[in-house]
């Protein structure tokens, strides 16, 4: 039972343009959603999070949008830079379940110079 899904396995975008990564979830009880970035041979790096009571959170070039009615969140990266080329994972957790993160399958982003 995949509670968190990233339906786009890959994304290619031109440098300077916007990258939009999407994530869908099935468990309406999730309290927090997070995005992680992963380079090869490194562990995931935390990017940004959003509480289920918010609909937007922004940090520099990264903005996460949450649509609870659609059980959908997205990560916008603008402007995209070549160093953003990585695999991006969305994840969610329940406060009652402690630190258990449920991850999506990831989206590989390639930013072309």
């Amino acid at each position: 039972d995949q509670q968190v899904k990233q339906n786009s396995p890959s994304l290619s975008v031109q440098e300077g343009r916007i990258s939009i990564l999407n994530c869908d979830y099935t468990n309406s009880m999730f309290d927090y959603f997070l995005w992680y970035k992963k380079y090869p041979a490194e562990g995931p790096t935390f990017l940004i999070s959003i509480s289920s009571i918010k609909d937007k959170n922004e940090d520099g070039r990264f903005t996460v949008f949450l649509n609870k009615s659609a059980k959908h969140l997205s990560l916008h990266i603008v402007p995209s830079q070549p160093g953003d080329s990585a695999v991006y994972f969305c994840a969610a957790y329940l406060l009652d379940a402690g630190n258990k993160l449920t991850f999506g399958g990831g989206t590989r982003v390639l930013v072309k110079p």
Binding site: V4, Q6, D31, Y32, L34, Y36, A41, E42, G43, P44, T45, F46, S49, S51, F89, A91, L95, A97, G98, N99, K100, L101, T102, F103, G104, G105, G106
Partner: protein, 113 residues
Amino acid sequence: DAGVTQSPTHLIKTRGQQVTLRCSPISGHKSVSWYQQVLGQGPQFIFQYYEKEERGRGNFPDRFSARQFPNYSSELNVNALLLGDSALYLCASSLGGSNQPQHFGDGTRLSIL
């Protein structure tokens, strides 16, 4: 400050053997979680420990066990290794409170022959 450190970085074992993976959390972090990442998929939750007590367990067989030491470091043990245990094993630490993002180490790549 040092991040989450894991050892070894790579390991090759044969079926039926046993393995111990080690993790040192970020200084001050009392919560340690373990994840398994199979190629092409997102990380899957295995265990969480907080203050040396197990706080969560994922859907993994009893061949998987873990513990946390008084200095908050942790070990993950896997017995009777199967080919399907080949994966990247990630350790993450956090302060342990709500909305505290987990910070990941670079993982141990385990290959079963």
